[in-house]
Point group: C2
């Protein structure tokens, strides 16, 4: 049961993008599992990928193709098999699937970006791609977003997607994004994939900078269990069909697109946490008054990843001892606990390192019992801050991750 | 149910050390919860303490007393109340309890080292100390080890203690140690305490160096959930009554004492992991062929603390994908997965970054189904290595940590 998250529906088409999906039978039976996304000529494409040294074959190939000279014209996404831990055979399979998509679309092989999500360590068969790609190429549809959001799911419980629109130079610009999974949250699953498209006109190079910026505040600000997938990838495409003047790094309208892109990415990142396995609470960890953004993030992640904090959260327990202990071990130089304040939403638990005189267990429990709340840590060291979103650890976290066998 | 761990029994007395315990009623009813340990004059004492910036009052006072000019003559340990997160009142309580012990033993207040373990954030009452200390002082007994090992327990399921003897200059030297809890593994509990005593004669300064050395290979080589207690402490005392020539840093017999001390500390550290809450398996994580000991430890800890590795371990699942993914995200520069080998005991799962041709799921599952086994990662980067001991994450881990309320 995801925390306050409805299935994606009515996603807005993005001019220049058409999509299709089909049941290729790569792993699942009776559901769509293969996706083709076609981009208009002239699209700018940028990507960020897992930093895990154990990265999957499609990540290697996708990086190569993005870095090459060919214009990116398509994404090919399969769900159910991550094509990770598969060695040279996996690289070959990824390249051959791209070649098949390229044939079907009459573009260069290097114009196709492959993405995979699913179980690790199983050979990816290429025949299903050969059978499915002519069908997919013939079924491309600008209204395919809802179906595709569903086709990329593995053990997600709801399809995740969102659209935003903004005005640039009097033109309506659409940003639509879909995602699956958060971090390596699912058993054996190599997980987080996100694809965001816009018809904005963006100069080459600007899109990658924009993506790096918003990813830092969205996909890189979530954690479920601290594990990082072998397949994490976020791809953004700007088709350039909206007809406004190209956005450069200096354009006054660039922040408008940045905000829309950020909204979409933050929504998708939070959706991944809301649908994390076993999650019963969605928690924002805010660390303020830090000496630097880096140390604020360090503290926020230490709190957000503490198993003791997360099991207390599951229990609805306003356990300030565990939160302070996580802050205390987060590795900050010369941390003075006597300057630290701690809040759950607007209830002050700790002021100056000690229980606030006005605090009562009942007031803390009222917040900790909610399905969404904020843990705020004020360090008293400076004026930097950071936010991380996370969830609790429930019985189901252990159950899903222990019992699932591929 | 601890993994292959029997209750401490028949611990050997250490000449120069006498112990007593009583039911002071600080928190528990109907069981001993307060311990006094007396050391002969001339004892050398060394300690290592939590690095958590949120450290408990007794840790602050214990550090002060050890650094002072007074000779350490006693330890005062209470179970059930950690005296952590208690501010100035907590420091006052720790100091007053030391003064009461000092009165009862006719030593300086600074000669008493206070240690507490138990729930965080509750005021420590001093009256129970006032009532109990005369009784404790009158009951000191060289044979008190077994009872004391039991009196320092909080939610441990078995008392933990071990004795070793060695020969130095033809004299029999005893090393006896007791411990409770591992890391901050228990709900609300500020946990790990260890006390080790020997009658060896050791020059001032040498004992601290010896302790630092063996702690790195024992208490600092275990992890349950990555959380660090506010009260972690390990104290070692050398009473110097064995009658051999004092051991200096250059003594040829020093390694004999070091080995005995290491054996005791490693045994106690492992006992804490074996008795970690919900543990059903005891796992040694060995990382070899690393470029440095530091990076070997970094990889070993990342694997040992991965919730996905730990839930797979609970399930008896030889899930190499999760182990490799943990290795891959452990932050090593330029890690080449194609050089990595992975073993469960003597079964090779991954050779050169890919599934070993001789590997079968059945062979892996045979090891992963055992109550004790080794995860061995060979990095192919150098000749350094490190070992970390850990356990699995079970339903009971979540249950104990979520449901417990103080």
């Amino acid at each position: 049961m995801p925390v306050n998250l409805k299935p994606a529906e009515g996603l807005k088409p993005v001019p220049g993008v058409s999509l299709s999906c089909t049941a290729a039978g790569i792993r699942y039976r009776g559901r769509d599992d293969l996706v083709l996304i076609h981009l208009a000529s002239g699209s700018q494409v940028a990507g960020v990928f897992t930093r895990n040294a154990f990265c999957a074959a499609p990540v290697v190939v996708c990086r190569e193709h993005l870095a090459g000279t060919a214009e990116a014209r398509a994404l090919l996404i399969n769900a159910g098999n991550a094509n990770a831990g598969t060695g040279q055979a996996g690289l070959d399979a990824a390249r051959r699937s791209c070649a098949l998509a390229a044939d079907a679309l009459d573009v260069d092989t290097e114009a196709v970006l492959p993405l995979s999500t699913g179980v690790i360590g199983q050979a990816l068969p290429v025949e299903p791609f050969a059978r499915a790609l002519p069908i997919l190429a013939g079924a491309l549809d600008a209204n395919g977003w809802d179906a595709v959001a569903r086709a990329i799911m593995t053990t997600d419980t709801v399809p995740k997607g969102i659209s935003r629109q903004c005005q640039i130079d009097g033109r309506t610009v659409t940003v639509t994004g879909i995602a699956k999974g958060a971090g390596m949250i699912r058993p054996d699953m190599a997980t987080m994939l996100a694809f965001v498209a816009t018809d904005a006109v963006v100069e080459s190079g600007v899109l990658q900078a924009l993506l790096n910026e918003v990813v830092a505040e969205s996909f890189n600000a979530i954690t479920v269990d601290g594990d990082t997938s072998t397949n994490d990838a976020c791809i953004v495409a700007a088709t350039g069909t909206a007809g406004h003047a190209p956005l450069t790094a200096e354009s006054s309208a660039l922040p408008v697109l940045r905000d829309a892109l950020r909204e979409v990415c933050v929504w998708l990142a939070q959706a991944c946490v809301r649908d994390a396995e076993g999650a019963t609470r969605f928690i924002r960890v805010e660390v303020g008054a830090a000496a630097s953004v880096e140390e604020a993030r360090q503290v926020a992640y230490t709190v957000a990843q503490s198993p003791l904090v997360k099991t207390a959260a599951f229990a609805g327990d306003p356990n300030w001892g565990r939160i302070l202990a996580a802050v205390g071990r987060s590795g900050l130089e010369a941390l003075d606990l006597s300057l630290v304040n701690l809040y759950l939403d607007d209830v002050c638990l700790i002021r100056g390192g000690e229980p606030d005189p006005d605090y009562s267990e009942a007031r803390g429990a009222a917040v900790a019992g909610k399905s969404e709340y904020c843990i705020q840590v004020v360090l008293g060291r400076g004026d930097s801050s950071a936010t991380v979103w996370t969830c609790d650890y429930s019985y189901d976290y252990v159950k899903i991750n222990a019992e699932y066998r591929s």
